[in-house]
Each structure stands twice: as structure tokens, then as C-alpha cells.
């Protein structure tokens, strides 16, 4: 009874949180609160959430050390870029090498292009995964990293499709969804789409992880030989996890292309994957809620650290260590500290829940009271 009552109040709290989030989203999207800069960072946070959670599905839940996320993002991003840029702009964008004549006539709506990008990434992942997923730990890491580089190198070279190293710019922003409700005309801006897709992705991966497939993934992570002995089809589950991870990475890449308005092969250098690696290490390998929190902390944190790159003058003295590049040095030192001293990240393999928060406070409180008594 008590737990039932508790759960009910927790459910109310959850609904309240969702409502608050939606109101905040509305206020920021319609420019009542905040500005373009904040909007952009929040959008970036949401996109990073999609990619990081999908990477955690592969690395944290299935135990496959894959470093191919940047390559799959590139596939999604380029699909959106190639198919959504208006046909009349193509000639001026592909000014060095003209675009393939059939491709240059095709323009499809953003959401279809996004879906195609995700599916294409998943398809490539299946092709790559079939041979590569037989490999173990570090070999798998280097092979997936190799494939992500090959994808990037191919994109740099097929100039008639991708415009090579110049990249594609003037990618249109995500279209607003207009809904007519009687007298009200509500327009849902790009932020709604990005956050909606992010929430949907996280929900889908959460459901997947807690399904029978998810249990198979975790069994493979803990001990693949034992899992195989229990009758789990290793190959099928590994490829499935890898392909689903790639699908969401592709979706994330597509959203990123539209948010930034430009894609070029250099963006998808494999060091980009390191960002997501940092996020899942910080959030906890095998924790979805941890990854979501870490995505926001890392992405927003990287923006906040930007002041390290600006010259700083304190009391009329110019402090020489503050110059371009310091931000990334601090960022990488933080990554090292995290790896060396806080190996489990924020949540380890646990998920955030009200019960966990209450437990955490309970553990903190008694020691607090004791120390107070001691002081008296």
C-alpha cells in the first residue's frame, strides 16, 4: 500500500516535470525566454543526447567497444544535406564539380530525408557489422574507427554527390510544424522537432533496453560465451544493437546538419566520436538517464568553458595563459581525471529514479545529523 501510494505521488511528480519541460520549451522556442545562442546550445545538447544514448546502447549495454559514431552521423548528415537543399541553389553550391544530374533534380521533405539518412546509416552498419562484429574489444574499436574514417574519406572523394572537401552549405532549417486548432494557430519551431525526436529516441532505446532484447544485450556484455551457452544468438543481437545505434546516430547527424546549416567531411573526423565517449563515460556506461544528464553537462560545459579561449585581463594585468586552445586542454584534462578517478561516472549502471534520489539523501542525512549532535 505504502509503496503504491509512493509510486502514485512519484508519477504525479514525473508528469509535473514533463509539463514544466514543455512550458520551458515553449517559452524558449517562441523567444519569450533566452536568446538565439541559448536556443542553439540547447538544440545541440538534445542532438548530442540522441547520439550519446545510441552509443551507450552499443558500448554500455551490449559491451561492444565501437568508435564508429562519427561515420554514421556523417551518413545521416549528408543524406539530409544532399536531399533538402533547394534544387535551384544546387548549381551555386556545387560550383567546382557539378552535382550528379539525377541527384540534382531530387528534393525531398526534411523529415523523410532524416528518416532515409537514419535507415541508410543502419544499412551501412549491418554491412559493416556482419564481418567486423566477430572481433573482440580493442580490435573492434580500431576496426569501427577505421570504417568511420573510410566513410569520411569516401565522402571527401565522391565530389559529384557530396561536393568533396568544400562541403554543402545553405541547408534549410528544420521546417516548423503548423497546427490549426480552431481559433489557435500554433507553430512548432525547429526546437520542438529536435527535442521531440530526442525524447522519442531516448524512450525507444529505454524500452528496447528493458525488453527481452535488452536483457540479451546485457547478457552479451557480461559474458558473451555464457550468453551463447544460454542460447542467445550472439551475431544477431550484436548486429541488431550496432544497427540501431547507427540509425539513431544517423538521425542525430541529420538534425545536426540542419541545425548548423552546413556539412563538410572535416566535421566528422573521428575525434568527434571522443566527445560522445566522454559523455557516456561521464554519465555511466550502461545508464540512459546518466547519459542524458551528461550530454547536457558536457555540451553546455564546452560552451561555458569558451571564456578560457578569450584573453583575460585581471587588475590591469594580461594573464598570458588565456588564449585560443586552452579550453580544449582543460576539457581533455577533465576527461583524464574522469577516467582515472571516477571510472563509474555519475550513475554507473544505475538509472535515475525518485527512489534512488531519496535513498541517496537518506544515506547523506544520518551522517549529517550525527555530526550536528557531535558539535553540540
Amino acid at each position: 500500500m505504502i509503496t503504491n501510494k509512493k509510486n502514485k505521488s512519484f508519477r504525479k511528480l514525473n508528469i509535473l516535470l514533463v509539463i514544466i519541460a514543455i512550458i520551458l520549451l515553449y517559452l524558449i522556442d517562441s523567444d519569450i525566454v533566452g536568446n538565439q545562442y541559448i536556443k542553439r546550445i540547447l538544440n545541440l545538447c538534445a542532438i548530442y543526447t540522441i547520439v550519446s544514448v545510441s552509443m551507450n546502447l552499443v558500448n554500455g549495454f551490449t559491451g561492444l567497444f565501437s568508435l564508429g559514431q562519427a561515420g554514421f552521423m556523417a551518413i545521416g548528415a549528408y543524406t539530409v544535406a544532399i536531399f533538402t537543399v533547394p534544387v535551384e541553389l544546387r548549381e551555386s553550391i556545387f560550383y567546382v564539380v557539378p552535382q550528379n544530374p539525377t541527384l540534382s533534380q531530387i528534393q525531398i521533405p526534411f523529415f523523410s530525408a532524416l528518416l532515409i539518412g537514419g535507415l541508410l546509416a543502419a544499412f551501412v552498419a549491418i554491412l559493416i557489422g556482419m564481418p567486423v562484429l566477430r572481433l573482440k574489444s580493442d580490435y573492434l574499436a580500431i576496426a569501427t574507427l577505421g570504417f568511420s574514417e573510410i566513410i569520411r574519406i569516401i565522402f571527401t572523394n565522391i565530389k559529384t554527390i557530396t561536393n568533396g572537401a568544400l562541403g554543402i552549405n545553405r541547408i534549410p532549417v528544420i521546417p516548423s510544424l503548423d497546427v490549426e486548432l480552431g481559433y489557435f494557430n500554433i507553430s512548432f519551431g525547429p526546437m520542438w522537432s529536435i527535442f521531440g525526436i530526442a525524447a522519442l529516441s531516448v524512450l525507444l532505446i529505454y524500452l528496447l533496453v528493458n525488453s527481452s532484447y535488452g536483457r540479451a544485450f546485457k547478457a552479451i556484455r557480461e559474458d558473451d560465451i555464457a550468453a551463447q551457452a544460454m542460447g542467445i544468438n550472439l551475431f544477431k543481437h550484436k548486429v541488431m544493437s550496432f544497427a540501431i545505434g547507427a540509425f539513431f546516430a544517423g538521425i542525430g547527424g541529420g538534425l545536426l546538419a540542419s541545425l548548423l546549416g552546413t556539412v563538410d567531411p572535416k566535421q566528422f573526423y573521428f575525434t568527434m566520436t571522443y566527445n560522445f565517449l566522454l559523455i557516456i563515460v561521464l554519465g555511466g556506461m550502461g545508464s540512459i538517464s546518466g547519459t542524458v544528464i551528461a550530454s547536457f553537462i558536457v555540451t553546455a560545459g564546452l560552451e561555458l568553458l569558451r571564456f578560457f579561449d578569450e584573453p583575460l585581463t585581471l587588475f590591469g594585468v594580461n594573464i598570458p595563459i588565456f588564449r585560443a586552445g586552452l579550453r580544449m586542454v582543460i576539457y581533455s584534462i577533465l576527461l583524464m581525471v574522469l577516467v582515472l578517478f571516477f571510472r563509474n561516472g555519475l550513475l554507473g549502471q544505475k538509472e535515475l529514479s525518485w527512489n534512488a534520489i531519496i535513498e541517496w539523501f537518506k544515506n547523506k542525512m544520518p551522517s549529517h545529523k550525527k555530526s550536528e549532535r557531535g558539535a553540540l
Binding site: F65, M336, R343
Partner: protein
């Protein structure tokens, strides 16, 4: 293609291949002992190139003094990295230690960008190495000829150390079985440090030769050679020094030959290594000279 050009490309391929081989030895030794892809190895190589610039351009030291200083500084860097980033994680999962290696690599790149800026820096000219010599119609720089010789000498030195000395015996014991070696009273930390000494020292020599050949240094210059040399080590059979050298030669040769015989595919030069890697991993994961390892349950 004339015969002269072919010879020129052949010499070029051997020289690039032996540079890969020099760096690959470091990878294969560390992997043999720690079972760790030392992602930072390529960046140690990059730092060595910057050390050389510092010592020759900023301090104006002659090249032979600089070479000694650079090798010493690079070895120090390699050992410090091992002590700070890898030693505390000796009992952690392989994924954690690999993430740590990636972190070190990322840190070194960012540090180099911060300290030396991302603008390419000219590598100091070592007149002895950059002079051109000609054999008939084929004209080569000294560095192209010297590199394979240095690589072969280094290989024999490393083979001598691992096969004939006491520390080499300890290295072989540790790479066979970490736990048992520990029980036999081998000081694991000394053994690991000495592999990093050898690996970093060879990376420093490689960096000096590389710099004399390509003449520019940037903070990300270590990334691609680093990955390729790891691939060379896998191709040769990871853990096997001779294999790493052979792998390096094959890789360097195939890159140069692709570029010279199929010029339209020049853009794919960097992809070749990964294609080779994937083929090797699928057909013979133990590499050309590697021993077969069976998984214990």
C-alpha cells in the same frame, strides 16, 4: 611509367614503409605486454617532432646534440604517460584503460595546439639528411636511403634486447603470462617502463626522419601515422617485432604503389590502411607472424 620513375617510387615506398615500421615496433611491444592499443603513441611521435623544432630552432643546438636531447625527452614523456595514465588502471577493464589512452592522445593533441598553435611549423633542415644523391638517373635524398638502414638496425637492436638480455627475457615472460611472471618475482612496472622507453625512443627517431622527409609539423600529424602503424603491427602479427617491421614495409609500399600506379585513387591513400586492416582481421586475425591465441573461458 619509365623504369627510373618506378625505381624512384620503389625507394620512396621502402622509405615510407620503414618509417611506419619504426613506429609500429612501439605499438607492438606495448600491445604484447599490456594488451593495450597505445592510442597516444602517434601523439608521442608528434611531440618528438616539436621537441626537435624547439631544440634546433629555439635553442640553436646542432642536429646531433638535438637528436640525443629529443630522444631523451620523448622517452621521458612516454614513461610519464605510462605512470600517470596507465599504471593506476592496471586492474581496470580493458575498455577503461583504452579510454584512458584515447584521453591521453586527445590531451597531447590539444596541448600541442595550445602551445604551438595549429599553424604548420617548418621542420629544421638537417643538411646531412636532406642532401640529394643520385644513382644513375634516379635522384634520392639521403633521408630516403638512410631510413631503411636505421629501421633495420633498430630492429636488430630490439631483437637483441628481447632475446638476449635479462630485461628482454622478463618482457617475454610478461607478455606470455602477466600473473605468472609477477609470481616469479619479475618487477612488472620496470618491464612495462622499459617497453615504453624502447617504443618512445624509436618514435623519436621516426619523428626526426619524418620531419626531414616532409618538412612540416602540425599538432594532428601523429594521428594518421599512429593509426596506420598500429595497422602495420596488426598486419605483421601483434606482439611480434619482426612482424611489425614487415607490416610497416607492406603498408608503406602498397600506399606508394597505389598512388603511382592508379593516380585517380590518390584521394583514397589514407583508406588503404583500413582496408588492409579489415581484410587481415577477417582472414587471419593473428597477422602474418602472430601466434594463435585461444580464449580461455
Amino acid at each position: 611509367m619509365t623504369f627510373e620513375i618506378f625505381l624512384q617510387q620503389l625507394a620512396n615506398g621502402i622509405s615510407v614503409g620503414s618509417l611506419y615500421a619504426l613506429i609500429a615496433i612501439g605499438y607492438t611491444m606495448v600491445y604484447g605486454i599490456l594488451r593495450l592499443i597505445n592510442f597516444a603513441h602517434g601523439d608521442i611521435f608528434m611531440m618528438a617532432a616539436y621537441f626537435m623544432i624547439f631544440s634546433m630552432v629555439n635553442f640553436g643546438l646542432p642536429w646531433y646534440v638535438s637528436t640525443v636531447i629529443v630522444i631523451a625527452a620523448t622517452i621521458l614523456l612516454g614513461v610519464v604517460i605510462e605512470k600517470v595514465a596507465y599504471k593506476p588502471l592496471r586492474d581496470a577493464s580493458r575498455m577503461s584503460i583504452m579510454i584512458s589512452a584515447i584521453g591521453v592522445s586527445f590531451l597531447l593533441q590539444n596541448l600541442a595546439t595550445y602551445l604551438f598553435t595549429g599553424v604548420p611549423k617548418g621542420f629544421p633542415d638537417i643538411p646531412f639528411l636532406t642532401r640529394a644523391i643520385s644513382f644513375g638517373n634516379v635522384s634520392l635524398s639521403v633521408v630516403t636511403v638512410v631510413t631503411p638502414i636505421i629501421t633495420i638496425i633498430s630492429l636488430f637492436v630490439v631483437l637483441f634486447i628481447t632475446n638476449k638480455t635479462k630485461i628482454g627475457m622478463a618482457m617475454r615472460a610478461v607478455s606470455k603470462d602477466f600473473e605468472t611472471a609477477k609470481l616469479m618475482g619479475i618487477n612488472i612496472n620496470n618491464v612495462i617502463s622499459s617497453t615504453f622507453v624502447i617504443g618512445s625512443g624509436l618514435a623519436a627517431i621516426g619523428a626526426i626522419l619524418w620531419g626531414s622527409k616532409y618538412a612540416t609539423v602540425i599538432p594532428v600529424m601523429g594521428v594518421m601515422p599512429g593509426l596506420k602503424c598500429f595497422i602495420a603491427a596488426v598486419l605483421g602479427g601483434i606482439g611480434n617485432t619482426t612482424g611489425a617491421v614487415i607490416g610497416g614495409f607492406i603498408l608503406g609500399m602498397s600506399e606508394i604503389m597505389l598512388v603511382s600506379f592508379l593516380p585517380p585513387l590518390t584521394g583514397y591513400r589514407d583508406a588503404i590502411a583500413f582496408v588492409i586492416l579489415i581484410i587481415v582481421l577477417l582472414i587471419k586475425p593473428t597477422g602474418l607472424l602472430g601466434e594463435k591465441v585461444t580464449d580461455k573461458v
